[in-house]
């Protein structure tokens, strides 16, 4: 397909004269259309989000009422909750799978699988991805991986229970963990998921570099696309390292090698280095796309250009770059050389700088705006506010001496959830809501969304803020029954409060889920450009047809020309020809 043949590309554009005559299976199941694949990822990852949330509820039950039988919990079986009382081995699997599912099967596919697929071709003005069939493979590999991961709950001796970080030797030797095939399934599933992510990343990068419409220079790309581009680079380079580590782990688990087993000459810390060398870039994979969505939505809500667009792009790149040299901050107390710890502390601290740039530019974008508080805007503002708290707790953890008392306590759990829920997930809510009309041609009920927003904001903070306090009091994470420690016995009340808030938080999410599902079929019809936004996806019908654009769009300006004096309206689409005499097509320059 690498040839001179012109028509190949052209016919990917939507030809209104020709009806879409693909069969149902080709259209909706084994589809190569990036939009359908994005929506497939959407339903897969929302299902996993629900599962991950349910696991969290079980965790919170045990922590709020340690040892108390859960009414109806006995249905989970004798090996998990005999008589409704949770067993420690089940708790460890729950905690492990909650982390694994949320990170790898909910948030990562929501951010990348859904939005990279859906948005990139639309925002750069392309008819589809560069490699549509590879794209389809990416989705189905993720499904296979998800099924394997889920199957782990039903194997003998239970699912993986060594934490989402699977530190060796615990994750290797069944005699130590009491887990057999569950741990192997965990490894295999993530190896397969790695291939899925890689297929995606190759596609996204190629598409963004090569398939931009005329005039879409790099510095005219909408920020979600920029963020997804940089995220894809991180995925491309980080996932193979995880795959390498997982393969060594798998060999240790099933072939009797001992890469991570000291008796055989292996090194337990080698696993940690490999895991976190991937793992820290991974946490930026989980936040950068949300940075992008939020930048887009805040500009739209404020009816103002993004403040410091170039600085925003450079900051994204700087975060991605620095993300590679900080992994040791997860290993300060691991026995790694303390001098190395100092180096990792310094690099980690520096990451606060590009992040600060982003935060202040978001505020700059609000400054002297005309703020419309539509629900995506509310989620985005909450994102900024909550992510900053998570970033601050990160600074505590980054300080090596302060990490001594805080490492492996609920302070870290609080940090995780402020950045991942307060950050990534709020960004996801913003994006899901903002692009809902484009994806499904209908609008969500705005009033219900605002209720969901308010409840989530309140209960999120009530659930996770007190966890800082637990952590400072020394309460350890990954502990099935903290009341074993005299020191933590008076933390029961606070834990119970957190659990009650968590249940309310979960219930609030059901409101959003109901609104989402209801709006899919019953929402009011959406126009092509309900938010009066500038980027190319809003120039095509909602939902966009197969092939996206009738003809190749031409881009004349950046995506954030809101309230421009050039226009009567308070927005100015990227493809609107300039008012004066039609300029020649912009020169094809790089950057």
């Amino acid at each position: 397909m690498s040839t001179v043949a012109l028509p190949e590309y052209v016919h990917h554009y939507h030809d209104p004269a020709h009806a879409d005559d693909r069969s149902f299976v080709r259209k909706y199941i084994f589809s190569t259309d990036h939009k359908i694949i994005g929506i497939q990822f959407l339903f897969m990852s929302l299902t996993f989000l629900l599962i991950g949330g349910l696991l969290a509820m079980l965790i919170r039950w045990q922590l709020g009422w340690p040892g108390r039988p859960l009414p109806g919990g006995a249905v989970l079986g004798e090996t998990r909750m005999p008589g409704g009382i949770m067993l420690p081995e089940f708790y460890n699997s729950l905690m492990t799978m909650h982390g694994t599912i949320m990170i790898f099967f909910a948030v990562m596919p929501l951010l990348v699988g859904v939005f990279a697929n859906y948005l990139i071709p639309l925002q750069v003005g392309a008819p589809d991805m560069a490699f549509p069939r590879l794209n389809m493979a990416s989705f189905w590999l993720a499904v296979v991986s998800g099924i394997l991961m889920f199957a782990g709950f039903f194997v003998e001796a239970g699912h993986a229970a060594a934490g989402w970080t699977s530190y060796a030797p615990l994750s290797v030797v069944p005699e130590y963990s009491g887990v057999y095939n569950g741990q192997v399934l965990w490894t295999v599933s993530l190896i397969i998921l790695g291939f899925s992510s890689l297929a995606g990343a190759v596609n996204y990068i190629t598409t963004i570099i090569n398939m931009r419409a005329p005039g879409m220079t790099l510095l005219r790309l909408p920020l979600p696309t920029w963020a997804l581009f940089i995220t894809s680079i991180l995925i491309l380079l980080a996932i193979p390292v995880l795959t390498g580590a997982l393969i060594l782990l798998l060999f240790d688990q099933v072939l009797g090698t001992g890469f991570f087993i000291p008796e055989m000459g292996g090194e337990p810390l080698l696993w940690q280095h490999m895991f976190w060398y991937f793992g820290h870039p991974e946490v930026y994979i989980l936040i950068l796309p949300s940075f992008g969505f939020v930048s887009e939505i805040i500009a739209n809500g404020a009816r103002k250009p993004v403040f410091g667009y170039t600085a925003m792009v450079l900051a994204l790149a700087a975060i991605a770059f620095l993300g590679w040299i900080v992994w040791g901050h997860h290993m300060f107390q691991s026995g790694m050389n303390p001098m190395l710890g100092v180096g990792f502390m310094a690099t980690t601290m520096v990451i606060a700088v590009p992040t600060a740039i982003k935060v202040f530019n978001w505020i700059g974008t609000l400054w002297q705006g005309n703020l419309h508080f539509h629900s995506p805007m509310l989620y985005s503002l909450a994102f900024v506010s909550m992510f900053v708290i998570g970033g601050f707790s990160g600074v505590f953890l980054a300080s090596t001496p302060v990490d001594i008392p805080l490492h492996d306590t609920y302070f870290v759990v609080a940090h995780i959830h402020y950045v991942l829920f307060g950050g990534s997930l709020f960004g996801i809510f913003a994006a899901l809501t903002y692009w809902f009309p484009k994806m499904f041609g209908r609008t969500m009920n705005e009033r219900i969304n605002k209720i969901h927003f308010a409840l989530t904001f309140v209960f999120f903070n009530l659930t996770f803020f007190p966890m800082h306090e637990l952590g400072v009091n020394g309460m350890l994470r990954r502990v099935y029954d903290y009341t074993q420690y005299a020191l933590f016995q008076d933390l029961v009340d606070l834990n119970r409060f957190i659990s009650l808030s968590a249940f309310a938080l979960f219930a609030s999410q059901l409101i959003y889920a109901a609104n989402y599902i209801w709006s899919l079929g019953r929402g009011a019809r959406a126009s092509a450009n309900p938010w009066r936004a500038n980027s190319l996806e809003w120039t095509v019908p909602s939902p966009p047809p197969h092939g996206n654009f009738d003809s190749m769009p031409v881009v004349y300006r950046g995506p954030y020309e809101y309230s421009s004096p050039e226009s009567e309206e308070d927005y100015l689409p990227q493809d609107a020809p300039p008012a004066e005499a039609p300029r020649p097509e912009p020169a094809p320059t790089f950057a």
């Binding site: 420690p88 460890n92 060594a162 030797p169 615990l170 130590y176 000291p262 008796e263 292996g266 337990p268 404020a302 009816r303 103002k304 250009p305 667009y309 600085a311 107390q333 691991s334 026995g335 303390p338 710890g341 100092v342 502390m345 310094a346 520096v350 606060a352 700088v353 600060a356 740039i357 530019n361 700059g364 609000l366 400054w367 002297q368 705006g369 005309n370 703020l371 419309h372 506010s385 900053v388 601050f392 600074v395 505590f396 300080s399 001496p401 302060v402 001594i404 008392p405 492996d408 306590t409 306090e469 400072v472 009091n473 020394g474 350890l476 099935y480 029954d481 074993q484 809101y562 309230s563």
Partner: protein, 234 residues
């Protein structure tokens, strides 16, 4: 429940708490600035009929300002943290005249080995305790951590100590208690089913009490009756 760390009973704990406090105030200040600006913008620039947003694209001087100021802020935090950290963890800076103990972690217990009357570890008169660490107050103690099976983490919240014990490695830790009493010993790294109950106690004695205790233990270990008069520990 206290609104802060557990009571501190170690020499370097106060430095850790101070570092925590410094970061707390620095981030609290940033918190007020950032959230304050957010709330201000939300109220001041909320949608009004007839208002048009001012299409500002950016400002290089501001951009430089909020790059440079946080940079020096965090570098200052890192700089002050580094010496506290190295005083605690760097093997070269550990006190030389410390009492030597050896700690071995295994699923799911801690065993602490004490030198016998000869003051030397790994000799015949060593004795050990399970899930109990006994140390004298105001005396530097140096422990060498070992692990038998998986990674554990030696955690003394009141003494501000946390250090993983990794199979195949020998990791030194030092501490010096400043008050007698009974404190917590825990395991902070997920180590399997019994991780949650892999805990014990730290008993900090006055030097005299410790000597008595040590003599008794040594005697028990060597098979003699426990009621012998205390042997001077060294």
């Amino acid at each position: 429940m206290d609104w802060g760390f557990p009571e501190n009973v170690s020499t370097f704990g106060a430095d850790i708490d101070a570092a925590y406090g410094a970061i707390f105030y620095a981030t609290a200040l940033m918190f007020v600035i950032v959230q304050g600006l957010l709330v201000y913008c939300i109220i001041r620039f909320r949608r009004r009929e007839g208002r048009k947003a001012v299409p500002i694209h950016g400002n290089t001087r501001l951009e430089i300002l909020w790059t440079v100021v946080p940079f020096f802020g965090v570098m200052f935090i890192a700089y002050t943290s580094a010496s506290v950290w190295l005083d605690i963890k760097s093997p070269d800076r550990m006190p030389e005249d410390a009492m030597e103990l050896s700690v071995t972690a295994q699923q799911f217990e801690w065993s602490v080995t004490y030198p016998g009357a000869d003051g030397q570890l790994a000799t015949a008169d060593d004795y050990s305790t399970r899930n109990e660490l006994h140390i004298p107050v105001d005396r530097a103690v140096r422990l060498t951590l070992h692990a038998q099976d998986v990674i554990h983490s030696f955690y003394l919240p009141e003494l501000r100590v946390k250090q993983d014990a990794v199979p195949g490695m020998e990791i030194p830790v030092w501490l010096q208690a400043t008050a007698t009493g009974e404190y917590t010993l825990g395991c902070a790294e997920l180590c399997g089913l019994g991780h949650y109950r892999m805990r014990g106690t730290v008993n900090v004695y006055s030097q005299q009490e410790f000597d008595t205790w040590a003599a008794e233990e040594a005697a028990i270990a060597s098979g003699a009756p426990a009621s012998l008069p205390p042997v001077a520990a060294r």
